[in-house]
């Protein structure tokens, strides 16, 4: 495989990974809105229908050591195809609609006719997420404390 091909593949994978992350971390209502913007696109074909299942979450001892199985989380996944372009949705919680919408947006995001507009919507979602993260952090940091040790007088 020529270097360009390998880089191209890696870049495409990275773009998909980023799209999927943005779609998973965004509320389903936002994905409904985006999907409705692209209602005129070709009918998506369901390759693997949305389903809910278990993902066993793994932790690490002390956060950096050997892995152990912590417990399961419910997740939903879906695979669709838009004119042969595959889209994958993998989201948390038993929300098959969210997984379907994520798969649809991922497919559109990889389709040359819709990639541009989809990416603009995703950029807006990322900004929204960044605001949420900042807000949460501000809330937490507001409760930051500095304890002062009391020095016992020796007189």
């Amino acid at each position: 495989m020529e270097p360009d091909g390998a880089t191209g593949l890696a870049a495409a994978q990275e773009r998909r990974r980023e799209r999927m992350e943005t779609l998973s971390l965004s509320p389903p209502e936002e994905l409904e809105r985006i999907a409705s913007l692209f209602a005129g696109c070709p009918e998506p074909v369901t390759v693997r229908a949305a389903e809910t299942g278990l993902v066993m979450v793994r932790g690490r001892i002390a956060g950096h050591g050997a892995a152990f199985n912590l417990g399961e989380v419910l997740a939903s996944r879906c695979v669709v195809s838009v004119e042969g372009v595959l889209g994958f949705g993998y989201t948390l919680f038993p929300d098959e609609r969210h997984a379907y919408l994520a798969a649809l947006c991922d497919a559109l995001g990889g389709h040359r006719d819709y990639a541009g507009p989809v990416e603009r919507e995703l950029a807006a979602l990322r900004r929204r997420r960044a605001e949420t993260v900042s807000r949460d952090e501000a809330e937490a940091v507001g409760t930051r404390v500095e304890f002062f040790t009391m020095v016992r007088g020796d007189d």
Partner: protein
């Protein structure tokens, strides 16, 4: 990964209902060994899979991430498809819960498959052989066989399409180790037939070709969700004939 992605194709249109129908058929086939059941398996898939629709329907219904799956060489290309839909991992015959063979010549010898153990004989493998007419391959004339055992009130003349003397002999040896053993499905297009490990097969005393009798015909078959795989039980002892 793009190569894997290229092999992805849709499976059942309506997984919960379609897989339940197929399961019911498989159950019925096992309960009434050596009888041929017919259903519109191809109608369950929006695009027919590259391999025998009846075999594909069985694997999609019966396999999951816990079942090792062995595919014979001519079917190896479908491994990605089954993994994608069921989570079943490809493996060697000895580790397989399910093994699928394009025809009998590709099937692993019975003793290469797992037979379960004394504590858990149910862990024995299930072997699916795509050797019935309608399966796409060349169909040798059916051996005239007689089937007997549980599920067969009286011994039944059975047309062993795609089977060989050697296979019949292997099964006999295996039956001596009951309850451990391997259960077999024969499939082809719209037909399935089960030979559980309890069924005895011997050369029929009647001469001539075996005639294949279709024990039960699934209703409808006009495509669409409701009809494919719908199963009507034929009357006791009554059997439709199909040569």
């Amino acid at each position: 990964m793009e190569a894997v992605l290229a092999g992805i194709a849709p499976a059942f249109r309506d997984h919960p209902h379609d897989s339940q129908k197929v399961f019911r058929l498989a159950l019925e086939a096992m309960a009434r060994p050596a009888r041929f059941l017919e259903a519109d398996f191809a109608g369950l898939f929006p695009a027919p899979p590259p391999l025998d629709p009846a075999a594909a329907a069985l694997i999609l219904t019966l396999c999951d991430h816990d079942t090792g799956l062995y595919l014979s060489p001519s079917l190896a290309g479908a491994a990605g498809y089954f993994s994608f839909h069921t989570g079943a991992r490809p493996c060697h015959p000895s580790e397989a819960a399910f093994a699928v063979a394009g025809d009998l010549s590709e099937a692993p010898p019975l003793d290469a498959l797992g037979w379960g153990d004394e504590a858990c004989p149910d862990l024995g493998a299930t072997l699916v052989i795509c050797c019935l007419p309608g399966g796409g391959g060349a169909v040798p004339p059916g051996m005239a066989l007689r089937a007997s055992g549980p599920g067969l009130g009286t011994p039944l003349e059975f047309a062993g399409h795609g089977l060989t003397e050697a296979f019949v002999g292997e099964r006999e040896l295996m039956r001596a180790c009951y309850p451990q053993g391997v259960d077999v499905f024969l499939t082809g297009g719209s037909l399935i037939c089960a030979l559980p490990r309890t069924t005895a097969l011997e050369r029929s005393r009647q001469g001539g070709r075996g005639r294949m009798r279709v024990a039960a015909k699934a209703g409808g078959g006009q495509g669409g969700r409701g009809s494919a795989g719908e199963h009507r039980r034929s009357g006791q002892g009554g059997e439709g004939e199909c040569t």
